[in-house]
């Protein structure tokens, strides 16, 4: 089958869709901006709720997609609309003519330094969920001092559900990620007090509630309902945070050795760029707009252009994978004139 299928983005959604399309007998083309496949998940350590290693997942997806035509370190320079197809010019000089594009450009992690009051990039002991995940993955981080870890705090909803951060949407995965990472911190530092400062806990997924109860009951993680208002540094160089303990209606203050900001998901610049070139509309949440948010999530309003994964909004890993499979099927139906 000679039909060109261009998958924009080699993250887990792109890889999974490519793998499925290969099984259906197509030869998809993956265009990846960076030098490696797997997107964000490739740099993560373990995945909730079963603590399965992220590497295994990504390796499996990469292996399954290895038959695809993959361009690494490649960006799209421009897209021309032809009569009933598109001409895609790549940064490596290759041009592809296709009727079908699958946008799997994913998300960006919210830039936590935009929440100035939390002092990310200013205080030595303030990191993000992504930094912590990298550290779990074995990468050294000077901000994490193994010898003195008596108190660790997690701030939920950093850059999510926050109009001031220009993202009033929930990023969906941060609650459970915070619970996961809090447990992992307690496992590494059993003597440390671990606090989670949350506004709401959204334990929507399979086994998430069990995970949460586990964190409370067995790991003694202290969940404090209240958003951290400000972070300062004291004379010892530790971070002091202030919040309201809304359940007791009193201000609360605590000194921490490490503060982890649960940065949310925002539409990636790459998504916006690709969307601008085709062009594709964006929804009110800043992510790409689907044809329909109930039954057409993986379809764009433009014929032949499909979505999968977090380019249309925050998704968990299994959701992104399920969408990738759905999108692959939609592509197949489209090629066979059934869509």
């Amino acid at each position: 089958m000679k039909e060109n299928i261009v998958i924009i983005g080699g993250g887990i959604a792109g890889l999974e869709a490519a793998g499925q399309l290969l099984k259906l007998g197509y030869s998809p083309i993956i265009i990846e901006r960076t030098e490696r496949l797997g997107g964000h998940v490739a740099s993560w350590h373990r995945l909730f709720p079963d603590m399965s290693p992220a590497k295994e997942l990504v390796d499996g997806l990469v292996a399954a997609a290895s038959g695809a035509n993959i361009f690494l370190n490649t960006e799209i320079s421009f897209v021309n609309r032809l009569k009933d197809s598109y001409n895609i010019m790549l940064s490596n000089g290759i041009s592809i003519i296709t009727r079908i594009m699958l946008v799997t450009t994913g998300f960006s992690v919210f830039d936590a330094s935009k929440k100035e009051e939390y002092g990310y990039g200013v205080y030595d002991q303030v990191i993000t969920n992504r930094d912590l995940e990298h550290w779990f993955n074995g990468n050294a981080d000077p901000r994490i001092d193994n010898s003195a870890m008596n108190a660790v705090g997690f701030v939920h909803c950093v850059g999510s559900r926050d109009e001031k951060a220009r993202n009033s949407q929930c990023s969906k995965v941060c609650c459970i990620t915070a619970v996961k990472q809090a447990i992992e911190i307690r496992q590494k530092f059993p003597e440390a007090s671990v606090y989670c400062f949350y506004m709401d806990l959204r334990m929507f997924g399979k086994k998430y509630e069990d995970f949460y109860i586990n964190a409370q009951r067995d790991y003694g993680i202290r969940f404090i309902r209240g958003r951290v208002s400000e972070v300062s540094e004291n004379i010892e160089g530790k971070v002091v945070i202030k919040a309201e303990d809304t359940l007791s209606g009193k201000p609360v203050k605590v000194t921490l050795d490490l503060l982890v900001l649960m940065a949310g998901m925002v539409c990636s610049q790459a998504s916006s760029r690709v969307a601008g070139m085709i062009p594709l509309p964006t929804d009110s949440d800043g992510f790409l707009k689907s044809k329909d948010n109930v039954y057409g999530v993986v379809e764009s309003p433009k014929e032949g252009i499909f979505y999968a994964g977090a380019c249309t909004g925050p998704k968990t890993v299994p959701e992104a994978l399920a969408e990738a499979r759905a999108a692959a099927l939609d592509v197949h139906l489209f090629i066979n004139g059934l869509k």
Binding site: I213, R217, D218, G220, S248, K250, P251
Partner: protein, 109 residues
């Protein structure tokens, strides 16, 4: 010198200064104590809350925030009727928790 006004004590809870040794012991005796997610069912159903503001949810919270006195004041009104245990969505054995607190903590310290 009296100026007719003075520094008012801070209402803020400084978790650095809260001694949780006893609470940790309580957690060992009653691992479920941390399971409370502050839904408030217990307080809503508590017959003593009508008269005294007793709320086992608040008691658990106060003990974690170093406000034991407030917790004891509330707990004195508990009749151990068990309604809170019946309604707790997290299955916390609140009655035994109350007895354990009464055993472990002391007003005089």
């Amino acid at each position: 010198m009296d100026f007719g006004f003075r520094i008012s004590p801070s209402s803020a809870i400084n978790l650095d200064n809260v001694d949780l040794t006893l609470f940790e012991r309580l957690h060992e005796m009653e691992p479920d104590v941390y399971k409370c997610m502050a839904c408030g069912s217990c307080s809503a159903t508590c017959p003593a809350s009508v008269y005294s503001g007793m709320s086992i949810r608040k008691v658990i919270l106060c003990l974690q925030r170093g406000r034991e006195k407030e917790a004891f004041r509330m707990m004195k009104n508990c009749m151990l009727c068990g309604k809170c245990t019946m309604v707790c969505p997290r299955g916390i054995n609140t009655r035994h928790l109350i007895l354990s607190i009464s055993k472990l903590y002391s007003e005089t310290k």
